[in-house]
């Protein structure tokens, strides 16, 4: 297992190099000029400013040269400076990543907990009303577009009913907790500030739920079908022949076996969640990687775009690695090699 982990970790830089290369050339293949972002619209008419900025930001160099400079900086942990914010991309990402991670992690927990619960309930009531409702809900969850659901939820629960908080991570004029993990919920608890925690948590809940929808629907359906399949397995009947009651067999044998494939699903969905962050964060004014990506690409902020791709890649690769390790831990038959 250790050997496997190390080997996979060693592969990550290679994969990231690929991601960076593709992101670098793809973003620069767009035939539009990032200078407007750098110098602002008003200065575009001033040739001196433009020339100076072009030199200052290395845009006068050839593409291969720029690529080489970027790579050599990257090796030293320098992701470049954002055209737009004028601060190091690494700092920008560091400031925004926790917001996205908090959202994505909460969404993941919601999807797994509610999804497993829903799948078990559906399977136990196969063919009955509860099963039907859950199946339709699951289908809706995995097929409705998140931006639409997000807007509807905001309209209904915030604008009309007024029971949900406003978009954003905190209510207006609330000061964020001192930065420890970057998760407002965790940091507010660490600071012992209960009202702040409830505020952060209330703001987190709706976007996280909507972010989880697609995965939630898939988990419900997967757990349901796995439960039904496992219930028909020979070892279940053997367990019943030992004198175990139906519920006992379900808890001790079926459930664990049925949710094992969910682990794989989670690994694959990490990428999906990060992609979803772009839409969710825009709708809910969530100051994370997603909004950063949107803003950066609007202004053709090359270093920022490449940086976001890099972070996405790292998260995706780590997610997959963790999945493989978790799977091998749960299923003794799986040998990592």
């Amino acid at each position: 297992m250790l050997r496997f982990t190390l080997r996979r970790l060693a592969l990550i830089p290679l994969l990231l190099w690929g991601i960076v290369t593709i992101a670098f050339f793809l973003s620069r293949s767009v035939s539009s000029n990032p200078l407007v972002t750098i110098v602002g619209e008003r200065n575009l008419g001033n040739p001196d400013v433009v020339a100076a900025a072009t030199r200052r930001w290395g845009l006068d160099k050839s593409l291969p040269e720029q690529y080489w400079v970027y790579l050599s900086n990257l090796v030293h942990g320098d992701l470049g400076t954002s055209f737009r914010t004028k601060s190091p991309v690494l700092d920008d990402l560091g400031a925004r990543l926790p917001a996205t991670l908090e959202l994505a992690f909460t969404a993941l927990v919601i999807a797994v907990v509610l999804g497993t619960l829903g799948g078990v309930v559906a399977a136990r009531n196969k063919g009955r009303a509860a099963d039907g409702v859950l199946r339709v809900a699951a289908l809706a969850g995995s097929s409705l577009p998140v931006f639409w659901v997000g807007l509807i939820f905001l309209f209904v629960f915030y604008a009309t009913l007024g029971i949900a908080p406003s978009p954003g991570r905190l209510s207006a004029r609330v000061i964020p907790p001192p930065d420890v993990t970057g998760f407002y919920t965790v940091d507010s608890l660490l600071a012992g500030d209960w009202p702040l925690f409830t505020d952060a948590f209330a703001h987190l809940l709706m976007p996280a739920f909507i972010m989880s929808l697609a995965l939630l629907g898939t988990v419900i359906r997967l757990v349901r079908s796995q439960m039904l399949e496992e219930q028909g397995a020979d070892y279940v009947r053997t367990a019943r022949a030992k004198g175990m009651a139906r519920g006992q067999v379900l808890n001790r044998h079926v459930l664990k076996n049925a949710i094992t494939p969910v682990v794989t699903l989670i690994g694959v969905s990490v990428g999906l969640l990060i992609m979803g962050a772009v839409l969710i964060e825009t709708i809910f004014s969530w100051n994370g990687i997603g909004t950063y990506a949107v803003e950066s690409s609007r202004g053709l902020d090359f270093p920022a775009i490449t940086g976001v791709c890099l972070v996405g890649g790292v998260l995706f690769l780590l997610g997959n690695l963790l999945t493989d390790i978790a799977y091998a831990t749960i299923d003794p038959r799986v040998r990592l090699s």
């Binding site: 020979d234 053997t238 367990a239 019943r240 022949a241 030992k242 004198g243 044998h253 003794p332 038959r333």
Partner: protein, 539 residues
Amino acid sequence: MTDALLEVRDLSVAFRTDRGDVEAVSGASLTVHAGQTVAVVGESGSGKSTLTAAVNRLLAPNGRVTGGSVTFDGVDLLARSEKQMNGVRGKRIGLVPQDPMSNLNPLRSVGSQIAEVFTVHREARGREAKKKATELLERVGIADAGRRYAQYPHEFSGGMRQRVLIAMGLALRPQLLIADEPTSALDVTVQKTVLDQLAELTATMGTAVLLVTHDLALAAERADHVVVMRKGRVVEEGSARTVLTSPTADYTRLLISAAPSLATSSMVTPPEGTPEPIIEVTGLRKDYPVRTGALGRRTPFTAADDVTFTIPRGTTVGIVGESGSGKSTVAKMVLKLEQPTAGELAFEGTSVTGIGGKELFAFRRRVQPVFQNPYAALDSRYTVGDAVREPLDVHEVGTPAQRRAKVAELLQQVALDPELARRYPHELSGGQRQRVAIARALALDPDVVVLDEAVSALDVLVQAQILELLVSLQQRLGLSFLFISHDLAVVRMICHVVHVMKGGRILESGSPAELFDHPQHAYTQALLAAIPVGEAAPA
């Protein structure tokens, strides 16, 4: 004889299906006395397993008892509540299920699954349950039980898993043990040791056994009383000896005559003269890389080593061996589905060891396979006609009309109605499917057909028909067969020459008569001794 421990009277069981209710058991009765072993014998679909599942009240969800009674130790089991049944199952009625591969939870340690029997019935908890489970593992003959307790099912061989299931079934010393085909998935030598173990344990515990099996000889050897079932009805019952030696029902007689045994005479006649070899195998060896140990070092595993034999034209050459003997690896190499690590394979005197491309394509036309599982060997989305026609399409033989005509001819050749061409595999019985697989193998008029356990999954009556078909095809078409099997009796009936394999090597070769009447090698002798012959071993 004491009072009946289990009394099944006029039991009927029906399954709800799309096409209405199907009665699986119709008015079956049987009696098991304390400490007695009663065998229920029948082919697949005879209702024998359904009958025992009804006793335990563990029918599939779409099944229900439609009539009759099940009395166990004076209590009507059918009238008990589900909760009361939980107290009976495992404690007073144990179960040893059929397939050791699928009946253990793959994600839980073997020991914990045995210990569960104690905890569920509140006979022991925690460390105490673990201790008892470890003792049981020892009792069923698993060495190093303490370490083995924490291992998972996939780390156990088939025979050992079956021992684990026996340990589970007997954990609380039940009065009755239902053993549903407890050894049909095991090699014959393993089967013998497992059954011996089971007999010894149940004898010491005084447990009565309801043994379900398709093997009449095994039933007669192991049981005091035999019940023969067919299509849900009991057609005959009596003491083991009586049923085997003087059966009254026609069906029992048919079963006995169809069952291959070492006493069955050969179905083939020796070839005239000495035909030239069509396949020559010389020093064939196959290594597979296997990772072992914590560091995952690659060590080659030799599946077949120095295998040398010939297949004379128009004859059947048999390879017998148990699982892991390398017989299927040899079959794959002869079919050129696996490339040998070393050695030579010659077809009609020309080496085909290293061929590829067009030559290999041409070779495939001449050498065709039929595999074991008739359910898995046919694509469920292909009609029978599509399946048989596919080789003709691939090799572009004739016009579409000619191909259709050929398919009809091929189906007739294997005694199937050409009308079946439009059906799908799931509409056919196992025997019909295997005929389709044979028809498909014959589509390209091959010279050699490799039959890898081709009749092993079939009921005895169907098996006998397929064997007859193979023999007549050989006579009519001059085919050469490589017949791979674990069943010595079948091999004896159909082969001209037999090779016994173990651990990747051929141990002994000869004609069936020489080999089975005068086995030289100790392993061949052990194999022969392990075959149930229908008589209880002298005590």
